[in-house]
């Protein structure tokens, strides 16, 4: 009896999913049980980048924010989970090698869960974005290596979107401890791991020393950008020496160099640009 009811209920849910999905509405909106199921799905499929509790990891945005960069409606989120976001690390459903492809119903469960975790109002920035911008392009020297909206250097990661794709905490951590977690660089289409911003020092066959950041590397070649933003394309077997390091090329900005207040201002600036 119970079983039959369960099946007919399951059938109803499937029908509801199909009908609602056709209109881009979440058929499970507000359903606490669906949110719980969504939490498990989230842990398996999403938490790798977005963190347990959807608060954002170092590599995916904080999804508890009231305002999200790429999505507004549940239908938007459904599309993003299903198809990924081109040009970002967000993969399409079932292609991230983590977890398995989710059914439509499971995706709606995840959306229900995300909505249940959301804060109600946009968080007030803790810092002064205008002052943060001055620091970014001025005394803090961020723009010597980082570009935002087409202005700045090329040696470090481009940061236009970082305020939208990473949490405040992880940005602060990257400034205070740049070597603790190297930023991701190039992601190749078929490759499991992205290139990281590793530091490389080589001596060429004619004795020239080159130090910089690896744009890419394999067992036989390395592509380096040096501090002067020159690109060096090198074959390893032709080098006198090759050394790489997980000590970031970015200097460690501790509180003596950049106060907590100043850092909050810079973060506020990045969020003001990236979370748009």
């Amino acid at each position: 009896m119970f079983k039959r009811w369960r099946w007919s209920f399951a059938g109803f849910v499937l029908l509801a999913v199909a009908v609602s999905a056709a209109y881009g509405q979440n058929p499970l909106a507000g359903d606490a049980k669906a949110a719980k199921a969504g939490e498990y799905e989230f842990r398996i499929n999403c938490a790798l980048c977005h963190g347990l509790g959807a608060h954002g990891g170092g590599r995916g945005p904080d999804l508890t924010r009231a305002v999200k960069k790429h999505t507004h409606s549940d239908a938007d989120i459904f599309q993003v989970i299903s198809n990924g976001i081109p040009g970002t690390a967000m993969p399409a459903n079932g292609t991230n090698g983590q977890g398995v492809g989710m059914t439509d119903e499971e995706i709606w469960q995840i959306i229900t869960y995300i909505r249940s975790q959301e804060v109600k109002a946009p968080a007030q920035p803790l810092g002064n974005a205008a002052h943060g911008k001055e620091l970014f392009y001025g005394d803090a020297n961020c723009s010597m290596c980082h570009m935002v909206a087409g202005k700045g250097g090329r040696l470090g990661p481009e940061l236009t979107g970082v305020g939208g794709s990473r949490t405040r905490e992880s940005i602060i951590d990257s400034v205070r401890n740049p070597s603790r977690r190297l930023a991701w660089g190039l992601t190749e289409a078929t490759k499991e791991f992205p290139q990281e911003y590793e530091s490389v020092t080589v001596v060429t066959s004619d004795g020239k020393k080159i130090a910089g950041v690896a744009l890419n590397e394999d067992s036989f070649s390395v592509q380096i950008m040096d501090a002067g933003e020159h690109i060096h394309l090198l074959e390893k077997d032709k080098l006198q020496s090759f050394q790489k390091s997980r000590e970031s090329a970015m200097p460690k900005y501790d509180a003596d160099v950049l106060s907590d207040k100043e850092l909050e201002d810079i973060v506020a600036y990045l969020i003001s640009v990236g979370a748009k």
């Binding site: 199921a37 939490e39 498990y40 799905e41 842990r43 398996i44 938490a47 790798l48 347990l52 079932g94 292609t95 090698g97 977890g99 398995v100 492809g101 989710m102 059914t103 499971e106 977690r181 190749e188 289409a189 078929t190 490759k191 499991e192 791991f193 990281e196 590397e217 394999d218 067992s219 036989f220 997980r246």
Partner: protein
Amino acid sequence: MRARGGFESAQMLGQPWKSGASAPRQGATEMAFRPGVPGLKPLQFSWTQRGAEAPLFHGTAEVPGRLLATCLIAILFAGLASAQVTFDRLRDSAKEPQNWMTYSGDYSGKRFSGLDQINVANVRTLGAKWVYQTAATGKLETTPLVVDGILYATAQDNRAFALDARTGRPLWMYQRQVPADIRPCCGHVNRGLAILGDKVFMGTLDAHVIALDTKTGAVVWDVAAADYRTGYSFTVTPLAVKNLVVIGVSGGEYGVRGFIDAYDADTGQRKWRFYTVPGPGEPGHETWEGDSWKVGGAPAWNTGTYDAVTNQIFWPTGNPAPSNRGEGRAGDNLYSNSLLALNADTGKMNWYFQFTKHDEHDWDATQVPVIIDAGGEHLIAQANRNGFFYVLDRTTGKLISANAYGKTTWSDAKDAEGRPVANKNASPTLEGHTVCPGALGTTNFMAPTYDPQTGLFYVTARDQCDIFSTAPQPYEAGHAFYGSAYFPSEEAEPYRGFLKAIDPATGEIKWKFEHTSPTWSGVLSTAGGLVFSGDAEGNFIAFDAASGKTLWHFQMGGAVYAAPMAFAVDRKEYVAIAAGSAVYTFGLP
């Protein structure tokens, strides 16, 4: 000289389709005999093309001259008839190293090619001969077969195809619509075909077993093995044994009840099924709590091996379900994460060995179990996903040794049999904690190789640790059933990938090569003193089998998820591997 008379040209070695223009002239191939003891003559033989610098292969075979001649005539006849692949040919595949007729190249799982035309001396001149683009997206894990000049392979979208192995030009293509609601774990995958008679056999993502005509790709028979909507699928390369097509199911992440099936190659009729999770009343059933056996998993998604002497199939099994949560399935959970020795005719189990009892880390034991005869011992070796390299006596299933070959933290003790056992800190927790290896394992599906010339076992290995945390999910048919989540542990970054050469006698790692990042490529060894493997950056690499030194590489432009193989056509050796979405073939200038 008897054999020489019937062994004059490659044209007569089962390649009747060759045009007269391109066929070598009669007598162009010579075979040198160095007779040994009468009756059982150790034969030194070598094929040499007149004027050519590189012979195709040099072999030593303990085969009576008369038997050899008979075999050659049989092969010749088979070749002229219709290039039929008989069970005898599969069993004696070492006699025709120009062909690659099973997933691992032979029944023993060695993935060793007897060809030595490409060798340590000339591999630096290797170049691409042709590339076949499948345009399939995702992971191309196929190992091609080559029989008598035709290459047969699969793509991950329920596709099989046949190519002219010399040129890469297609002969036929078969594709079965992939239903939108299939539930394969870990993406769309297919690892290849089996061949027997005039048919090739594939398992499909929607859990069918299909026989295709080797000449046209036409469907000869099509059997639904299970209901794909409840999470069953096939990704494995089947194994043809006698007149049976043996195949194991996938679905360990969906709470399936695993099985290994054998189908009549002619009709598709199922001859036996071995459930890897015993039902009520069967031995081993008591190792499952309550009804947990019904969704116990233990899939069988990688190809096993076969010992013709004892008529046993050795097939490995995968994780119990849910994969990362032991609560609710108290007990050893037989026959998950085990090696099974099954009678090939009946599917009855002779013995089993369970590598990881009551697994909570998704450590499928589905790695190819490699048959090795050494020092008068009949062994079977497996580099397991749990980080240990196991050697068993394959007549009894008794464990001989188990040695770590990568970073492991889950076990620091062994039981009375010598089996590594889990320590107290290994189980996943709600908050999550770090265990090595991670869920992807020290190795995974990537095929290893055993080189009888060096006596070394080569395997792709990864050092990665994961944080395992529980996420108690109820079972729902057709829904993912993990019971937990895992994340790569930051403390262990970066994750490191290796090719390791293990001495099976001691477990010692004789050499290792560190890749730039972990790779999913399998490994091939050849009589040319070479080991071939690919990397995540798209390189195909030749190593000196003895030292691990890189001798040659080629950038293929896509990560490797497949294992290499070797074959010969027109007495020219080729090495082939899938990378990105294409099949690449390499040869000497």
